[in-house]
Amino acid sequence: MSKTSVHTTSLHTNGNGTGTTETKRLEVLKTYKIYIGGQFPRTESGRYYIPVNNEGKKLANVCLSSRKDFRNAVVAARAAFGGWSGRAAFNRSQILYRMAEMLEGRRMQFIDELMQQDASRAAAEKEVDLAVDRLIYYAGWCDKYQQLFSSVNPVASSHFNFSVPEPTGVVSIIAPQQDSLLGLISVISPVIAGGNTCVVLASESKPLCAVTFAEVLNSSDLPGGVVNILTGKPSELASWFVDHMDVNATIYCEKDTDIQRMMREKSALNLKRVFFYDQTDWTAAESQSPYFIFDTQEIKTTWHPVENIAGAGGGY
């Protein structure tokens, strides 16, 4: 009996630091799941795919999301819209800032993941730093773009007439394939800064950072459902992203002209807005702007009756 315990003995002695044989610890690998409504479910389809880096290393088993995952994510985004758009702009700003804080705290993890996905150390560090700064940038804009895009309009009747931007609703986004972290954050941030909620399809070939970023979102006071992150194939999901009647705008970040034409056609079904951010270098200074927020805003104009418009002494 005692002979059979030799194998385990070596493990114990190793644990005490007195063993002579090296026992390699089994690495605990992370399960990369999708992010819907503040939860981390697996895809309902049960499918997955294995992205590979340039060295041929398998990165992970990643969920191959289906149209039903997308449908569920839209339901979550729609449910979250009222609360998120109704928050004080200043509070949205605080939450975006908190996201930046959490991202900064996990800096090394993101650099590591980017390097696994073929980035050099210098490039990875630059990308994470820019991503944090971009969140801070849009955090600052949360309560300022309204002033920029609002107007008081001259009208030839007894009305006080003004226009203000309001969030359009649920935005579906197919994120850039390159710049898998910075690109993702650059398209999400202006959308949610403006009070919209969104469903994002992460980079197909480099999905790791998107899922880890979901963990950042989950620990940064962002209500569940405001950002929903799926992984999978744009070729499979693009048409669903644009023909869902409960989606108000779609953002597509690649140059595939067939997909762009299809999106233009299908968007006509419910007159959703479609934007192609396909020329953008996400590291450039021009890739952050309040006009990205403006893209997913609707302008509401109010005609407020007044007795005597000239009485105010203004030229309205």
């Binding site: 449908r71 839209v74 669903w240 023909d243 869902h244 009647m245 409960d246 079904l269 419910n270």
Partner: protein, 306 residues
């Protein structure tokens, strides 16, 4: 006596069968695993719509609200042809006349809650007058509540007599008896209340008022369906079932249909014997029907508010 066999023997309700809670919950969960696709799903959705008692039971109800609901009942979604109407419109007694007029000869019935809904805390003569009023106004169906306080106090005869009295006051109108299962506390009591209601003359038994949580759940509905099945085997009389409150998604409604089919059989799969008490369910069903027709996921923005 020779005729004794035809008389209904009322059992001792204190001896109603006990319910295995774990078993019921597991059994109910099984019904949610059936896969219903394409043609059968579309037919199922239409059947669900046709079984809905479109309901508004708010203190703030107005004539206008009820008229609008009745219009929705007749024209759920005219953009797609071949969509059935709902089964009935369910309102308070004071709104019965408005609903009756608005529904006209559409064939949609008017159901009225009565008997001091939703608490049922009123003297019997008030409840009877409430019921008669609704019937005289033109209600085709009466949804009564049982006296849960008396039931908990063990006064089963009181509850039985009250249901029988309301049944008599209802006359031609079909009587649905609301057990308010959320206030009964256990499946044993749900089973017992179901039997009291059925022996006292209920045409339908109904889970809830919609004012108390939890309202209708699949396990509690299963307990009631099994009570209906056993009652049918004993007496040969069919009793309808109406889960109400908390059923707002088509998928869940289809699960209920599966349950009815597998517990009671196809004879119950029509709006004579099965109803959903719901308001927001109708729009979700309509959205799924349009999804089946167009292949596009739908948005509530393009369906009438109810």
């Amino acid at each position: 006596m020779a005729t004794a066999k035809s008389l209904l023997t009322v059992p001792d309700f204190a001896l109603s069968p006990r319910i295995d809670q774990v078993g019921v919950e597991e059994r109910a969960a099984r019904f949610t695993t059936r896969s219903i696709k394409k043609e059968s799903k579309l037919n199922g959705l239409k059947l669900v719509l046709n079984m809905i008692d479109l309901t508004t039971l708010e203190g703030k109800d107005t004539d206008g609200k009820v008229k609008q609901l009745c219009y929705k009942a007749i024209h759920p979604h005219d953009a797609v042809p071949g969509i059935p109407t709902v089964a009935a419109v369910c309102v308070y007694p004071s709104m019965v006349k408005v609903a009756k007029k608005a529904l006209g000869d559409s064939g949609i019935r008017v159901a009225s809650v009565a008997t001091a809904f939703p608490s049922g805390q009123a003297p019997r003569d008030v409840k009877i007058r409430d019921t008669r009023y609704a019937v005289n106004e033109g209600a085709d169906e009466i949804d009564m509540v049982i006296s849960r306080g008396k039931f908990h106090a063990g006064e089963y005869n009181f509850v039985f007599d009250e249901i029988a009295a309301i049944k008599e006051a209802s006359g031609e109108a079909r009587l649905k008896v609301i057990l308010e299962t959320g206030e009964l506390g256990s499946f044993d009591k749900v089973r017992r209340a179901s039997e009291i209601a059925m022996y006292a003359g209920a045409d339908f038994i109904k889970t809830s008022t919609g004012k108390i949580q939890p309202a209708a759940t699949m396990p509690v509905t299963l307990v009631m369906l099994e009570a209906i099945r056993d009652f049918y085997y004993k007496t040969g009389r069919m009793v309808g079932m109406k889960p109400a409150g908390g059923i707002s998604k088509s998928k869940l409604a289809l699960h209920y249909l599966v349950m009815v089919k597998e517990v009671l059989g196809e004879d119950w799969l029509n709006n004579e014997w099965f109803r959903f008490g719901a308001s927001s369910l109708a729009n979700d069903v309509l959205m799924q029907i349009v999804k089946e027709h167009t292949g596009l996921y739908q948005s509530g923005n393009y369906f009438s508010v109810d």
